[in-house]
Amino acid sequence: MRTIKIFKGTPMHNGNSFKFFSLSTIWLWLIIFSLIPYALVTLASFLSHDETHLIHLPFSLSHYAELSDPIYIKIFQKSFYLAGLSTLICLVVGYPFAYIIARAKSSFKHLFVLLIIIPFWTSALIRTYSMITILKPKGIVNSLLLWLGVIDKPLPMLFSDTAVVIGLVYNLLPFMILPLLTNIERLDNRLIDAARDLGAGRLTTFRKIIIPLTMPGILSGCILVFLPAMTIFYIPDLLGGSKSILLGNLIQNQFLITQNWPLGSAISIIFMLVLIALLVVYWRSTRKERQDLL
């Protein structure tokens, strides 16, 4: 009785006023702070700039033309290479790791998952800083190698591309492991057993059953590692040498140092196009998987 009274006592709104309120809140927010800003970046990439104005008319394609300069092409190539290498290392290290954890006894599993989530939540800046402590000439890796007699003078690991890749892998590995883990956990064991019963070897089972079924996890992990790897400007900034300019640093420089916003926008737009292409590949491949399951 009491509940009915409460319901009666409230003024009778149009049943849909809540719906209207929620939807307009979220749409307004996303339009003002996401769609319009992205449109502005696109627009800015086609505008000009001079010393007094950050962006102004007339329209021009010169910034896109400028990107064909070998300097920029080299930076794009290098970013792709280092980000791709980091993604590959994350996949090779992360896949068996996720596989073992997904199949671990459930009593341990909670602990293992917690141990991956902690670095995932810890500030990437702090973790990058901790890498400096490890890699510096008098750091722990060099001291260990010296003590073992493997080397007789400290390796210059810090401020190199190697350090950047180590830093990227260290920071982004959890982003590879977590989607893989979710995917491998859902793997139907009966399919593996069936393949083995039908005479497939370990390798064949892995190649023909396990890999295709975990492809969505592999792809989302790769996307989650690759995209930030291209753009986290503070990792090359802190771990790389002065030559380690990657895409993220390039965009950052255009906006905050040389103040060439249209060029910075054009670089971002090209990068976003690559991102969209990757997402389309991802979406298509998961759709195929969904259809196969049906």
Binding site: P37, F97, L114, I134
Partner: protein, 260 residues
């Protein structure tokens, strides 16, 4: 048995990779020595110096205010979005859903520059307001997926029953959705709070000189080189993050068992 050993060894190895750098950092924060790697005895000296650094306290205070405000507002907006996505079929639902995912995937740097252009065109001065708006924007999608993920396990008949008893959507929201969802909301809030406290990429573009925040302060300290005070500061932040993670994991677990 041999296979089991190999797997365990592999797990240990990867976990060591994750934790050794942080462990070394923590160990050095207690080292008396200023420059050398050698252990010169246990000391709380660097924590003491941190405590006396008033600039740092200002940045911490700014970050906490910013984190609490942006997490709270983002949780509100994200909650409304998740509830709408779950309960209603409306025009553009797929688009909204897609947009949330695009925002999560969208590289921070692109969000940073796009908001910088927006603020500069609309003459919003860079400082607290621009940071707050930016932080809310990048937190909302994470709240949406945290809350939506929990709502999927709801029994839909509960809404039908409430409607039959005469409840409108406001009452359903207040009397059914909020009480059932608070653990997921709190988890979303904590995630947003952590994201806000840790963000460098976006804040770097939309921060102004008048309002210094902790991650940017740490970034500028780190760029100048290694100092024992930074080790101490990072240790404090790491322990704080650890507490938040354990707390939020408990919440989510409780939340799941609630529905089982």
């Amino acid at each position: 048995m041999k296979k089991h050993l190999t797997s365990s060894a592999y797990l240990v190895l990867v976990f060591l990779f994750f934790y050794i750098p942080i462990a070394v950092l923590i160990a050095y924060s207690f080292n008396e020595a200023q420059y050398s790697l050698l252990w010169k005895g246990f000391s709380l000296r660097w924590y003491g110096e941190l405590f006396l650094d008033t600039d740092l306290w200002v940045a911490v205070w700014h970050s906490l205010v910013l984190g609490i405000m942006s997490a709270t507002i983002a949780t509100g907006i994200g909650l409304l979005a998740a509830v709408s996505l779950y309960r209603y079929r409306f025009m553009g639902r797929q688009l909204l859903y897609g947009l949330v995912f695009v925002l999560i995937l969208c590289p921070d740097i692109v969000m940073g520059i796009s908001l910088l252009i927006l603020f500069s065109i609309s003459k919003v001065s860079l400082g607290f307001v621009s940071l707050l708006l930016a932080h809310i924007t990048f937190c909302v999608p994470f709240v949406v997926i945290t809350v939506y993920g929990r709502m999927v396990s709801f029994d839909e008949y509960i809404f039908e029953a409430a409607k039959d008893l005469g409840a409108n959507d406001w009452i359903i929201f207040r009397s059914i959705i909020l009480p059932l969802l608070w653990p997921a909301m709190l988890a979303g809030w904590l995630l947003s709070f952590t994201l806000s406290l840790d963000d460098v990429m976006i804040s770097y573009f939309v921060a102004g000189p008048g309002f210094e925040i902790l991650p940017l302060k740490i970034y500028s300290m780190v760029r100048l080189g290694i100092k024992p005070e930074i080790n101490a500061l990072c240790t404090v932040i790491f322990v704080f993050t650890l507490l938040l993670v354990v707390f939020s994991q408990r919440l989510l677990k409780k939340n799941i068992s609630h529905f089982e």
